[in-house]
Assembly symmetry: C2
């Protein structure tokens, strides 16, 4: 992108503390990409979204207002109905079952005249209590390319969502705190000195998935055993890291079994996470399809933009 060229619109996704923005042309080609790091300060509170966003996309702004389509937990109150005291008007979460494609993002007031922010509403489920904010856009992007898909979509992010899709609707979903757990265990727990910073051992991962799938109720004990094995059997941080991932993913698969058993499954994730889930699911006799999370999220945001009359 030429620095002096301003985008026709801006796509924004927030997941956890990470904020990603794409400068988009009118035909939905990506002109430029910007992202905060995972550990960006000032994104602890959803209410900090707009200042963080303005800071991130400042190079793309000029005097002419530009449309921003955003998904994820971008608002202070979380977009639930009837609670919260934030000063932002957020779109209410939509109860499942509901279609995910033909909906209108909600225009929210912005303190800065250079942007007009529209937010994609997330999904809610009352029994069991669950919320999804951001992944519904990724699902919408996937369904724009595979409109006849009927089955289960697995979306491993900081949290992993499993969504049952039928006739263009999210019928139900269940969410797991899997990678968030992995990250904080690796950084802050007793296990932190046992884990390598990178590397992968596939055999250890597979063994750990099987162990956790067989006895998922032992998760807290399995987690401690990563520490014990390090002390008793030697410090190989790479193996310990793969074992921890295997225990967490295995326990998740055990609990998500009603979702994936006997179903066509598509995993939408970054390459690393897609491979991890694909390996684990393949061991259960499935042949999951893989799709790229960034591509699907962008397709979802572009689809929501397309539904608007932006010149009004």
């Amino acid at each position: 992108m030429i620095a002096s060229q301003c985008p026709d619109w801006i796509a924004v996704d927030r997941r956890g503390k990470k904020l990603r923005a794409w400068a988009m042309a009118d035909d939905n080609t990506v002109l430029a990409t910007l992202a905060t790091s995972e550990s960006t300060e000032g994104l602890d509170d959803p209410g900090d979204f707009e200042p963080a966003l303005l800071n991130l996309i400042a190079p793309w702004l000029d005097d002419k207002p530009v449309d921003v389509i955003a998904c994820g937990p971008v608002d202070r109150t979380g977009g639930e109905t009837g609670k919260g005291s934030g000063d932002r008007v957020a779109p209410p979460l939509r109860p499942v079952p509901c279609p995910v494609r033909d909906i209108d993002p909600l225009l929210i007031p912005s303190a800065d005249p250079r942007i007009r922010i529209r937010i994609v509403p997330g999904l809610r489920q009352d029994r069991p209590a669950d919320v999804m904010r951001g992944a519904e856009t990724t699902i919408a992007g996937y369904l724009s390319k595979e409109p006849a898909f009927d089955g289960v979509i697995c979306l491993p992010g900081a949290s992993t969502h499993w969504a049952h899709i039928s006739a263009g609707e999210v019928v139900s979903f269940r969410s797991f705190l899997t990678f968030d757990l992995f990250t904080i265990l690796a950084q802050h727990s007793l296990l932190r000195s046992s884990l390598g910073r990178s590397g992968w051992d596939d055999a250890t991962f597979a063994e750990a998935v099987d162990e956790a799938l067989t006895r998922p109720e032992r998760l807290a004990s399995l987690l401690y055993s990563v520490h014990a094995r390090d002390l008793l059997q030697g410090r190989d941080g790479l193996v310990a890291r793969s074992r921890l991932a295997g225990y967490l993913v295995g326990a998740e698969l055990a609990a998500a079994r009603p979702y994936w058993l006997g179903q066509p499954v598509t995993v939408i994730a970054s390459v690393d996470r897609a491979q991890i889930y694909s390996r684990a699911l393949t061991r259960q006799g499935l042949t999951p399809r893989i799709a790229d999370e960034t591509e699907m999220t962008l397709a979802g945001l572009a689809g929501f933009r397309g539904g608007l009359d932006l010149r009004s």
Copy 2:
């Protein structure tokens, strides 16, 4: 304690990042107590033990060497046999089954002539892989008061250990990363904004224990639900905090069932944690006995000192 009076010996316990020291008289009365905070810098690495200890107990030291009896993960390599490259000679972990009372702490070289450090060896179990460093001293203290105890001791600390005791020996044990998980989830995860800093709701805790005991394999999903319930049902940090504790303790009880089912159980912990486990176990039809963790740990350290000829 009068500031100019030096202790006859010093009892030291390390659990996680927390270091506690007691200035002791020869008759094992406590003259003074010092402790680091949970978040003390410089205690990330077990190798930092001696500098941190010297810093903590400096007010008690003079030119005459004083005996220090210490338990917990105080050494760099963890005390396992045949591995590690630390410069400290640590006592090897002792394999279970083994007695816990009549053992000699190991004198380790100290860089400072004012202290003579003896370290209580921890316990190891090879199948399933497990280690205990510190809690074996608490158990020894309890058995010094209840030498005929036959049953199960539950020791909830940053990690919780369940130990099967028979004829003065630890027969087997299993450890769980429960309160460490609670703490890092509360401080660092997606859940952090949902949890209150304090407070307790007993009905919510009990309900969550039951839920996790019934479906322990769903733990990662239950954890996410704390976040979802916050968004959907209202921000009550006290309730969310009790629910999180209930899920973690319930999942632990499910996995530790072979330990507590039909057994006499003694919970040795701080008052708060003892109450939490006592409530959860009482709901399962048990009548657990309670003992104070600090008192038992001190009794254990004093017992190990008594076994030494300190004037040699």
